[in-house]
């Protein structure tokens, strides 16, 4: 009996080690590279470690600029996305819409088909209007692509707010607008914040659109990271990767409640 318990305990430890290795292992590699100054095979950890490349990234203009540019783009995209998506989400959650089927198809389609051809052709259109190599070109594309999931996250939020609360306010004589701003909006704030963080992280990490529309004049952080990685500058690439990755992991842990995988299916790329 006792032997069996020890066996089970060992099995559990083995499973935990395996899971940690599979999930955390690839991330540990990036962390080690970001601190590696000298790392030759077959040493398990770098022979010489230090914060040299971290200091470099935060001092050297080009890399830091790309991170700041990504922050700026992501912030503007969050604002645009919330301003455009919230009314649409309210419409979807509270009204019987004309042409509803058509609208749903349009708002779900970008998740269902490959987006790369879209980005390529937007780049072609933008080139004619000198929006390539321009921060605003990237902002427009990110706003479009993020709408598709922010609309559905916010729709789910509005739908979770009981309609009776709004009806009570309306019955007591409040206008539709006042009802929205005093009843619905405050209750929806957690969902709006979740959507905002989501859009922010997505925009920060987006590569494909930023690459085709920004290149070669404008480099966002992911494009910078790609260039560094392709040039075998593993350290710089790893530092930028970590800066982009840590908020994503942290967010995942706190966001739990708003995870609706079907709506965010089209993320990544």
């Amino acid at each position: 009996m006792k032997r069996r318990r020890v066996g089970l305990w060992l099995l559990k430890v083995a499973v935990i080690c395996f899971v940690l290795f599979v999930i955390v292992g690839p991330l540990v590699g990036v962390v080690l590279w970001s601190f590696a100054i000298k790392w030759y095979w077959p040493h398990l950890v770098p022979q010489v470690m230090g914060v040299k490349y971290w200091v470099d990234v935060f001092q050297r203009g080009r890399v830091l600029d790309s991170i700041l540019l990504s922050l700026e783009i992501a912030s503007i995209v969050v604002v645009l996305s919330l301003v455009i998506a919230s009314p649409a989400a309210y419409g979807f959650s509270r009204y019987k819409l004309p042409l509803e089927k058509f609208l749903l198809v349009i708002f779900l389609m970008p998740q269902a088909f490959p987006q790369l051809p879209i980005f390529i052709n937007i780049a072609a259109v933008f080139a004619r209007h000198s929006l390539t190599g321009n921060m605003w070109g990237i902002i427009f594309v990110h706003t479009m692509a993020s709408l598709v999931f922010s609309v559905w996250i916010i729709t789910a939020t509005f739908r979770s707010i009981p309609e009776e609360l709004e009806q009570a306010a309306l019955n007591l004589g409040a206008s539709r607008l006042k009802t929205f701003f005093t009843i619905t909006l405050p209750l929806a704030i957690p969902g709006l914040i979740a959507s905002a963080i989501f859009v922010f992280l997505w925009s920060m990490g987006e590569f494909t659109g930023a690459f085709f529309i920004g290149a070669p004049y404008i480099q966002t952080a992911p494009v910078m990271m790609y260039t560094a990685a392709m040039g075998y500058n593993m350290q710089t690439a790893s530092v930028v990767a970590l800066i982009l990755m840590v908020p994503a992991i942290f967010f995942m842990i706190i966001i739990e409640k708003y995870l609706k995988a079907e709506y965010i299916g089209g993320l990544g790329g």
């Binding site: 990036v30 609208l103 998740q111 990767a241 995942m252």
Partner: protein, 290 residues
């Protein structure tokens, strides 16, 4: 009395509020719709149209060239995608079933860790991890003494593992959600009658959760086949996945016609799955009122 009529008047308003077609709602949706029409639907139509235009002549020349040059890549893309979906299927059913029977906070947090990590960074992490002299091979060499292990990072297996690493969490999330929505009583009844847990998964959980499971794999399929960044970072230089071919076609040859033809090919590959996804979302979760 006055309060009463006022209530009634508002009551009438409520009726239209919930009533038939309402253009107020449409105008709320309009700005977002315009953004999507201009920046999604228009480029979509353009991509299909330009795939037929070769040197100013409308025809199938781009498709001929695309199949000549990238026929092998089309099959390779399908192959990697199907293997990835099968792998993700196994992992997600396994993990979701385990977590359905037994709560384990550690695994619950662990499986979700990769969820929001941008694909490009996953590609970079996997490229470093699976390299010939990467962390994985180093650890295996240290543990077993085997030297000269192959570098998975430049192999389709590494590419498949990178996809599986980042896509399994989504599949598990969807499948587990569907499993949890199934009432305990079904499971307990079967267990009391002597079914094994594996039989419960196969005969009760999977059939009852079928629509969600299919959606999980439709999404896995679509995301694998449309990803540019992961095959850009991981996998052999040749053959490559279609998105990488599209990118090279444009960056090195400035050949938009063939790139768009490849794009349309990828639309055609996913169209059946996309339709299923759209129908599922519209009926079950989408915007339709209940």
């Amino acid at each position: 009395m006055r309060v009463g009529t006022r209530f009634l008047r508002k009551g009438c308003n409520m009726a239209t509020y919930e009533g038939r077609s309402n253009w107020v709602g449409f105008f709320l949706v309009l700005p977002a719709l315009l953004v999507l029409l201009i920046l999604y639907v228009y480029p979509l139509i353009l991509s299909i149209y330009s795939s037929f235009v070769h040197n100013g002549v409308v025809g199938l020349a781009n498709y001929g060239k695309a199949f000549d040059l990238y026929g092998k890549d089309i099959f390779y893309t399908l192959f990697v995608t199907v293997v990835t979906v099968a792998f993700v299927f196994g992992v997600s059913i396994g993990v979701a079933s385990y977590l359905r029977f037994k709560e384990w906070k550690f695994l619950d947090y662990m499986y979700r860790l990769p969820l929001f990590i941008p694909f490009l960074i996953v590609g970079h992490a996997m490229r470093v991890f699976l390299a010939r002299h990467g962390l994985l091979n180093m650890i295996i060499s240290k543990l077993t003494g085997i030297q000269n292990l192959p570098g998975l990072a430049t192999d389709w297996v590494g590419l498949m593992l990178a996809f599986a690493w980042v896509l399994s969490p989504f599949a598990i999330l969807i499948v587990l959600g569907a499993f949890k929505a199934i009432d305990d009583s079904y499971i307990e009844a079967a267990l009391n009658l002597g079914s094994s847990k594996i039989k419960v998964v196969w005969d009760i959980l999977i059939p009852l959760a079928r629509p969600s499971i299919i959606v999980a794999f439709v999404l896995t399929f679509i995301r694998t086949i449309s990803s540019l960044t992961i095959p850009l970072m991981v996998g052999p230089p040749k053959p490559t996945m279609l998105p990488v071919d599209m990118m090279f076609r444009i960056n090195y040859y400035n050949d938009w016609g063939v790139a768009n033809a490849l794009g349309v090919v990828s639309y055609l590959i996913v169209i059946g799955f996309a339709m299923y996804y759209l129908r599922f979302m519209m009926v079950e979760r989408g915007g339709l009122k209940h």
